[in-house]
């Protein structure tokens, strides 16, 4: 790609205090000196509740690995909100996210996104990716948990005749099963891909409390590298099952992708006065509200990522005070310690270097 840097530096003599990109944004909105953006190129309705949004990212994006997610910034009534969405497009192709309407931000994305809209972006990240070396795979998904796995299947199945993938996908009924037709076609076309559609509306939930269901569908499940993505309880059961099997020294690996952190400690604390030192702002915070939300509501530019305590993008130095980990209820606080603001709440007065 042509290197714009030297040119941009010369141009900035004329555009200072702006960067040349800020002026170019007059003509093409994906330009920005500060903020990665993408323009929506196509919107595909998947089910009544979900859409796939294709976008062309600006400079600063990097190609995604199958199974990764990206943070997407959306404006609700003028205010920027960030959420993480799994990329459903196969690796090596233009990025697309598949979004299911489960909350205020996803609802706006599903209902209102149009071609030509601008999305604010952060480059793809995440460890829920295919193994480095070829292995037989078992995918366990439920509901919108199919999204990152779809990217893996699209990447692997058509291109690798040596792949061996079993997908057990749970959905309520046919209508709300995302990618249903495409999955059937892939299963028809490629013998290396076996699809089991488990409709919970008809036959009840796939039980992972005991190995029985798995044994009957996929007898060699313990020999496969397993991936699971879906609701909390589904993943907790899968984790327990694999742990059990691991004690019998017979299980393969299980890789899990969670969409939410369970914030058990939400009612546990008293909160306190939060001081954002660099921004010179003080706010009273509730003991159940993550410091990330507290800062955002006060108009602070908070670093953020997954908003569920796994990616560590929100790490912020604690200058003084104690914080409560909302996942465990544990209270801690060493001056200078880096805290995850997305899962930490104030436990008494807190000073943050922001």
């Amino acid at each position: 790609m042509f290197n714009f840097r030297p040119l941009a530096r010369i141009a900035s003599v004329l555009t200072t205090p702006l960067a040349p990109e800020d002026v170019l944004a007059l003509f093409n909105p994906v330009y920005s000196s500060r903020q990665l953006r993408g323009v929506v190129t196509r919107v595909v309705q998947e089910t009544a509740q979900s859409v796939t949004i294709f976008f062309r990212p600006g400079r600063g994006w990097h190609a995604h690995l199958a199974g990764q997610w990206a943070r997407i910034g959306v404006e609700l009534n003028g205010v920027r909100h960030w959420r993480s969405y799994s990329l459903s497009a196969p690796a090596g192709q233009d990025p697309a996210i598949t979004v299911t309407d489960v909350g205020s931000v996803s609802g706006v994305l599903v209902r209102e996104t149009k071609v030509g809209d601008i999305l604010f972006l952060a480059p793809p990240q995440g460890d829920f990716v295919l193994p480095e070396h070829p292995r037989s795979l078992l995918m366990l998904t439920a509901g919108s948990g199919i999204t990152p796995v779809m990217s893996m299947i699209r990447t692997l199945v058509p291109g690798r005749p040596d792949a061996d993938v079993v997908l057990i996908h749970s959905s309520r009924g046919e209508d709300d099963s995302i990618f249903r037709e495409e999955l059937f076609e892939l299963a028809d076309q490629f013998p290396n891909f076996r699809l089991v559609q488990w409709q919970t509306g008809g036959r009840g939930r796939l039980s992972l409390a005991t190995p029985a269901d798995l044994e009957s569908i996929c007898p060699d499940w313990q020999d496969r590298a397993a991936y699971a993505c879906g609701p909390e309880s589904f993943l907790d059961d899968a984790e327990a099952l694999w742990n059990q099997a691991a004690q019998a020294a017979s299980a393969g690996s299980l890789t899990i992708e969670r969409f939410h952190a369970e914030l058990k400690g939400r009612d546990g604390g008293e909160g306190g006065l939060v001081t954002f030192e660099t921004s010179d702002r003080e706010v009273m915070a509730d003991g159940g509200v993550p410091l990330l939300d507290v800062g955002e509501d006060a108009g602070i530019l908070m670093p953020s990522g997954c908003r569920m305590g796994i990616c560590h993008s929100c790490l912020t130095p604690l200058l003084s005070g104690s914080v409560r980990d909302l996942r465990t209820g544990e209270v801690r606080g060493e001056p200078g310690e880096l805290i995850q603001t997305c899962v930490s709440a104030a436990a008494g007065p807190v000073n943050l270097k922001l």
Partner: protein, 386 residues
Amino acid sequence: MSVASAKNPATAVGLKTRPGALAEAGRPTMRPPAAAHLSDEQVAELGRELDAIRDGILAKRGSSDSTYIRRMIKIQRGLEVSGRAALLVSRNKGAWVTGTALLSVAKILENMELGHNILHGQWDWMRDPDIHSTTWEWDFVTPSRSWQHTHNDLHHRWTNVVGKDRDVGYNLLRMDPDQEWKPFNLGNPLYNALLAPVFEWGIAIYDLEIPEYKEGLKSKEAMVKDLKALGRKAAKQFAKDYAATPALAMLTGSGKQALYGTLVANAVRNVWAHAVIFCGHFPEGTDTFTEEMVEGETRGDWYVRQMIGSANISGPRFMHLMTGNLSHQIEHHLFPDLPSNRYSEIAPKVREICDRYGLKYTTGPLLKQVGSAWAKVFKLALPPQG
């Protein structure tokens, strides 16, 4: 900690205003004469009424506001690009006039409706890093951060308190009878006339806080840091307007004309900004305060001081825009971080409150207010009579 930002009630559920920044009830050691007729309870009630106005705007603030500021940024950048482009061929007289005019307007909008207001944090609620008080840098010599300190923190906290708010005369002019007269002050009108066309440099020097440094209130390290920041910023500003633009214009043989164009545009902006800013707190009718009037000041008293210490400018919408809505100085001082496009909406309510509580609401057309500020400059050049 600036009082202005400490007073922000946070918008979300579960968040409260910082407690104890200013008392809800009580009274200052001495209430300003213009508000002496008010009881403690009345002042507290006035505070609640103004809080309610603020809450009303916070509840409405949303996509119409974000659309407004983004459109304004686009218009400003469009004007700036076209103005500079016209100056590149300004050997042509029409191009020179157009280019200089467009660039002047662009610079005025950039400093006033965009820079001043964004740097106040009026648009921080959007959480857009491109339009945020901690990231914005303006087309003005003084670095944003230095100005935010002297303006947002010192001036807005100590509005018109003689001895605390150095904006009363900017360390250069005698702008209040309580400031001691010295023979130097005879030059008041001359200094002010000389200051106007180079106002941005005056502000840059002012923001260095040289008197504080001399008095030992500012460390040498801080001074060196500020000087370096100013040096870098000034060099860039200078290079853009007085070197790069003329150099590029030389390609069409318009180098000299382009240089005159940028000089004039900066001067026009400086004279305009100077005029508008002098209308903020100096016209007849605005009060100044003593330090005992802010001792023990309550939330309501703080509001009172902002109202009787500030003056508005009346006029058409375009005038308000070109002043960055500083023509609503009273509303701006009450709520420095509400979006500027909302000031005109709350102005009638604020005025009504002033009327009802028997407080002055100083306003007048631009020329009258400029004249009034200048009258003070002349009057206070002379020693106190009698």
